[in-house]
């Protein structure tokens, strides 16, 4: 996994021009496929560069090597009925990133096994951003078609996404960090909006994570914070992300988050 994270981080650092996930690992290596599942949407983060600011890897499509590889990973490690929320989110995030960043050539998309409890169905015709469900508990994990669940203003989404509004800030920050791979342009706008409504709480989570020397959590929370409006300037977020990356002692997943935060900023500070 460190190799894949390193590869993504290098691509983000360098602009992503020659990035190819498939070049980072052997396709039949189950460990490599597992790494893709764990890193989730981030394995395709370099493709988002092209959408964000020009650049990014030369176009690959869903049918290309990277698309095939991701489909293998999705098929090899579908979240089971008793999967953790994070596993389900990560799965969905990776599936959505494939749709978002590797354009479909008009085929039926990937043919991986549908997971129990609501995997994304690329053929159902809905915009990818609206088919996400970030529920905290399995019983809240709606079918793939849950209507706009991460929008607090949407009554239909109130049950599944109560945590976005109500979770105490330490828990909110922990969850947000676990979902940091979804902090890519256009990938989960409703989630981003829900978190942006709790910027101060996320900022407190960043403080707590750094104090605990939980560099991975801090970097993940920081990724959401760089996109949020009204980040308190006394947080010192930019210096904090540099600090976290250097203090982590070269952890490639921390580096990936830190570089992604630099590549995909947004919002502003006050």
């Amino acid at each position: 996994m460190a190799d894949v994270a390193n590869g993504v981080a290098l691509a983000l650092d360098g602009g992503g021009g020659s990035y190819a996930l498939s070049a980072l690992l052997a396709q039949d290596d189950r460990v490599a496929l597992a790494a893709i599942r764990v890193l989730g949407a981030d394995v395709l983060a370099p493709y988002a560069l092209g959408r964000a600011a020009g650049g990014g890897p030369d176009g690959q499509s869903a049918g290309g090597p990277d698309g095939q590889l991701v489909r293998r990973a999705l098929a090899a490690y579908p979240p089971g009925a008793d999967a953790s929320d994070v596993s389900r989110w990560s799965y969905q995030g990776l599936a959505e990133a494939t749709r978002a960043f590797l354009p479909d050539e008009g085929t039926s998309g990937y043919s991986g096994t549908e997971p129990a409890g609501g995997g994304a169905n690329p053929a159902d015709g809905q915009p990818y951003a609206d088919r996400f469900s970030y529920s905290l508990s399995p019983e809240n994990a709606g079918p793939a078609g849950s209507p706009n669940p991460a929008n607090p203003a949407s009554p239909a989404g109130s049950a599944a996404d109560a945590w976005l509004r109500d979770a105490p800030w330490p828990k909110l920050s922990h969850r947000a960090s676990q979902l940091a791979a979804l902090a890519l342009p256009g990938l989960a706008p409703a989630l981003a909006a829900g978190l942006a409504a709790r910027t101060e709480d996320l900022a407190r989570g960043f403080v707590r994570a750094v104090r605990r020397r939980d560099w991975l959590q801090a970097a993940g929370v920081g990724r959401w914070l760089v996109r949020a409006p009204d980040v308190p300037d006394s947080l010192g977020l930019e210096a904090g992300m540099v600090y976290v990356r250097r203090m982590s002692g070269g952890d490639p997943r921390v580096a990936l988050h830190a570089l992604a935060a630099r590549r995909f900023p947004g919002g502003g500070s006050r």
Binding site: P170, V207, A209, L235
Partner: protein, 345 residues
Amino acid sequence: MSRGRSAGSRAAPPADTALLDDVAAGALRWLDAMRPHFRLPADVTTDADPNLTLKPLGELAELAQVIHTLHPLAPLRDAAAELFAFAWKETRDGELFAELVRGEPVATYPVELYGVFARVGLRHPGAEELIEATTALRRWRVAREDHTRTLGVLNAELRIGLPPHADAADVLAHTGLGMRSEPWALDRKAAYGITHDVFHLTDWGRAPGRLPDRLADYLRLWLPAWTVSWAEERLWDLVGEFLAVAACLPGAPYDAAGWAEFAAARGAGDAVPESGEPPGPDATPGERFTACYHSTLVAAFAATLARAAVGRSGAGGPAPTSIAGAARGGGPAAMTTLTGSEKSP
């Protein structure tokens, strides 16, 4: 994370006054019972370790005076007044300070301690003559390593009526609070620095309006994170100091989970351990005193500021249920016990 913490930046819950009164009353009871350990030894100005003698007594005087001034309940105010009078008596009506200044003419602590009493008119002419002579020196104005401490010296000068030896705003600007340190970069020492920046600046919570808005907002933002973070480390005196600082902010945001956790850290006799668990049954009274005196004083102080803020802001009030208070026999019952334990002067 198993804590039932509210969603942070939303409206603060009302203060649990029963819990606050239970914490303050219990702490004062324990402190009163510990009077023998606050007494100064005969060698206080020579061989004794000031950290075990003058420091505890000075803290007792400082915080008891605040409680006497600010607590809305008369029995608690009275108990605090007696502790304050006890501390003054231990200084032999101020003669101690003359001896301390003669021994260490440029040390700041005798002046800081004397200021606690001079503030309310308890003065000693001999000590004051010496202090006027030493604090007029250029030597007194040499910058100190610790700007937080300098804020304390400035407050003492104000209390005694001496000219300030430095510009308070300038000194504040160089502290951890004035600098608005990155909130994630605080270590333990820096955290104590920030709480004491607030205490010196606000005259220990008596003048919360002296906190500039910009710094109050900084504290409002980050206190919740610090309180949780140091509660996880079980450093209870610092948690108590953060709760006290919160009570100095506009609107005095009440941290219900922080208070519940702090109150639950109390051990036998309502003493609050400085860190970790309360002293075990084998601990000697002296060991209990050392382990708990500071944090228990902070508990009484913080509970007083939070309680006084309820009246100040017009907000708050008893929570519908107070399990901690009820289980501990808090509220009026606790005060009766406290009053009953007080001896007539």
